[in-house]
């Protein structure tokens, strides 16, 4: 009689030859998967030992407790026995174990469920990606078309949206954003001033820091930084709101009510940002200049009077108005990106997460691209 025994932390499993063709699997002690699961590989090795085994039986008299970990072992063993044409006699197992074994076998594996989908070649990938871009471009055009129609109706005073929603959005992207916009604008002013100061002090021209900050903030940085904050703050919120409405079927409900989502959801959102962005930009310009003045007065020892006189000299209405115009355009882009990505969102929570990320990325890319385009155009027009 040949016996091999495997000790594990709690339960034990041992294999024993009753005769040449019969293997008895002896399960003893408590088998809980928190501790350990019997090794199916070990059992398979045991089955391969010559002379060939024709029958597997169990001795569970010493089994003190079990859970589905043990069932998993038994199912694997039974599968193996089935493929090797070995008889599997589970009569000696406790009733509960036998029932779970039967349950695991009750529904046979669906045919072909394990065959992985055929792997696509790189050409197919390229094709799919191209088609995907084509489709998303189409979606974008549809979105743009619907939005244009919606604003057309708005211009004729026939758009269906709630005034209270518009006010709410104006508060959300206007007044509520003032804190973070002032913090960032102040810091940008400080950074611009430091950047300039290092170079300008070499020429004893520290006073021109005021010019640098004034022009930098009003012409470029005020609008750009505000737009980037709004992309992360409001654009992302728009995408998440609209994406969630897709998940909860609220978009469908609107459509079947005969209200176009573009009018009801997009118009007030876009309008709110377009109205608030110039105000936020103007405010950012002002706070940025204060940031510059802070550096000028405390580090460069300029008197506040001198600093602001120099700032006033450097300020140019064209720059300020140009900056506000850019800010308005950026606001429209951020709102568009948010609404578009929310509208394109899938209907699961992870899809809404993706849509939100996409909204921020799209908005920032569009804002920076627009900034480049403006720099080129303004230069061309000599503004």
């Amino acid at each position: 009689m040949k016996t091999s025994k495997v000790e594990s932390s709690q339960g034990t499993v041992s294999f024993e030859r009753a005769d040449d063709a019969t293997l008895v699997v002896r399960l003893a002690g408590p088998w809980h998967m928190r501790r350990d699961v019997p090794s199916a590989a070990l059992a398979r090795r045991e089955l391969e030992v010559k002379p060939p085994i024709k029958l597997v039986t169990f001795d569970a008299s010493g089994l003190a407790g079990w859970d589905t970990g043990l069932v998993s072992f038994l199912v694997q063993l039974e599968d193996h026995c089935h493929t090797c044409a070995i008889k599997f006699d589970h009569e000696a197992l406790p009733d509960g174990l036998q029932k779970l074994l039967a349950l695991a076998k009750a529904v046979p594996e669906t045919e072909g469920v394990r065959t992985p989908p055929p792997k696509a070649g790189w050409l197919e990938h390229l094709g799919n990606a191209t088609i995907g871009y084509g489709l998303s471009l189409r979606e974008f055009l549809v979105f743009l078309g619907e939005l244009t129609i919606a604003f057309g109706r708005f211009a004729r005073g026939r758009a269906r949206y709630r005034g209270i929603d518009l006010l709410q959005f104006i508060e959300d992207c206007g007044a509520s954003a003032v804190g973070i916009v002032s913090l960032i604008a102040f810091l940008v002013g400080v950074i611009l001033a430091f950047m300039g100061a290092v170079q300008l002090q070499k020429f004893g021209a520290a006073i021109y820091v005021a010019d640098l900050v004034a022009i930098g903030m009003t012409r470029e940085m005020g609008a750009m930084m505000t737009a980037i904050i709004m992309a992360g703050r409001t654009g992302a919120a728009y995408a998440a709101q609209i994406g969630t409405m897709k998940v909860t079927e609220e978009l469908d409900a609107l459509t079947t009510m005969g209200i176009a989502p573009a009018e009801f959801l997009f118009v007030p959102r876009v309008l709110a940002l377009v109205l608030m962005m110039p105000l936020l930009c103007l405010f950012a310009d002002f706070v940025g200049i204060l940031g510059g003045a802070f550096v000028g007065v405390t580090i460069l020892d300029l008197s506040p009077g001198t600093y602001f006189r120099e700032t006033a000299n450097a300020m140019h209405l064209g720059n300020v108005v140009g900056g506000l115009f850019k800010g308005t355009v950026y606001g429209a882009l951020v709102a568009l990106a948010g609404c578009l990505r929310g509208f394109q969102s899938g209907d699961s929570s992870s899809a809404v997460g993706d849509a939100t990320t996409q909204a921020v990325v799209t908005a920032i890319v569009m804002v920076v691209a627009a900034c480049g385009l403006f720099a080129f155009l303004f230069n061309l027009l000599g503004i």
Binding site: D95, K99, A102, L103, A106, V107, R160, R162, D165, M245, T248, E249, E250, D252, A253, T255, T256, M257, G258, I259
Partner: protein, 269 residues
């Protein structure tokens, strides 16, 4: 007995919805093909089928949220599928839809949810619309909940509020997507009673997507069964008749909760 009488009445009613040779597909994947059925006026019509059989997708086709790959849908003889946008909007305005999750607008109170379609599509003043909204809420047993937000009430109440909104404009056809999903048996029973009451008082045609047997037997006049494997309608008629007379083993199993002709060992003892 009153039910049976009503059933015979609806059988003679003119067709309200006709679905002809409808094929539903996602891209090249055909979900269901060659669907043909007629819903008569004031009938309670149930679309039955197992999970994933495309019941809800069929509903989305009926209300115009998805376009048929093949086939057409007619409302009172008007071709909905080929209708131009204005015609379509007119038809859609006669629908009321209760979505699976209620789909109440989460940023609005219950009253505002119901007032929205009223102010958009009627000449009611805001005050009048508010009064009508209160009435609709009272009809579904939510009197006094006007100023609650959807997130502040239970799932069953959200469904009822969704029904109140669906009924806002006294629609000719009410669509329900799994009305009993997520409801306890009592709330589900109350909802059934509510549906019956609405049909009787307003004469609305009701189309329900459901796999809730108790509710199907309680309220359906007529039904179709979508077979997941054969991808088409394999049985139609009154569910009670189907239970008695259907020869299709799958329909039978569905209507008896798999208790007959199924060897599944789902009894754990």
């Amino acid at each position: 007995m009153a039910e049976a009488a009503l059933q015979n009445e609806t059988r003679d009613q003119p067709a309200h919805i006709e679905v002809r040779d409808l094929t539903m597909a996602y891209g090249s994947f055909v979900l269901m093909h060659d669907l043909n059925f007629t819903v008569r006026r004031s009938e309670i019509f149930v679309i039955m089928g197992g999970s994933g059989s495309g019941k809800s997708t069929l509903l989305r086709h009926l209300i115009g949220l998805k376009e048929p790959a093949v086939g057409e849908i007619f409302y009172s003889g008007v071709n909905f599928t080929r209708a131009d946008p204005e015609e379509r909007e007119l038809l859609v305005k006669r629908f009321g839809v209760l979505y699976q999750s209620g789909a109440l607008f989460s940023s609005m109170t219950l009253a505002e949810n119901i007032v929205l379609p009223l102010t958009e599509f009627t000449d009611l003043t805001r005050g009048q619309a508010g009064e009508v909204a209160s009435l609709k809420l009272a009809l579904v047993g939510l009197k006094g909940f006007e100023d609650y937000y959807p997130s502040e009430i239970s799932g069953g109440m959200q469904k009822r509020a969704g029904l109140a909104r669906a009924m806002a404009l006294d629609p000719e056809i009410l669509f329900f997507d799994e009305p009993s999903a997520g409801l306890d048996p009592i709330s589900s029973h109350l909802l059934d009673d509510l549906i019956l009451a609405i049909r009787e008082s307003l004469g609305a045609t009701v189309v329900i997507v459901s796999h809730e047997l108790a509710s199907i037997f309680a309220i359906a006049d007529n039904s179709v069964f979508l077979d997941t494997e054969r991808r088409t309608i394999t049985a139609s008629g009154n569910p009670r008749d189907l239970l008695m007379n259907s020869k299709d083993p799958k329909v039978h199993r569905f209507l008896t909760r798999g208790k007959e002709g199924d060897g599944s060992p789902m009894n754990y003892g």
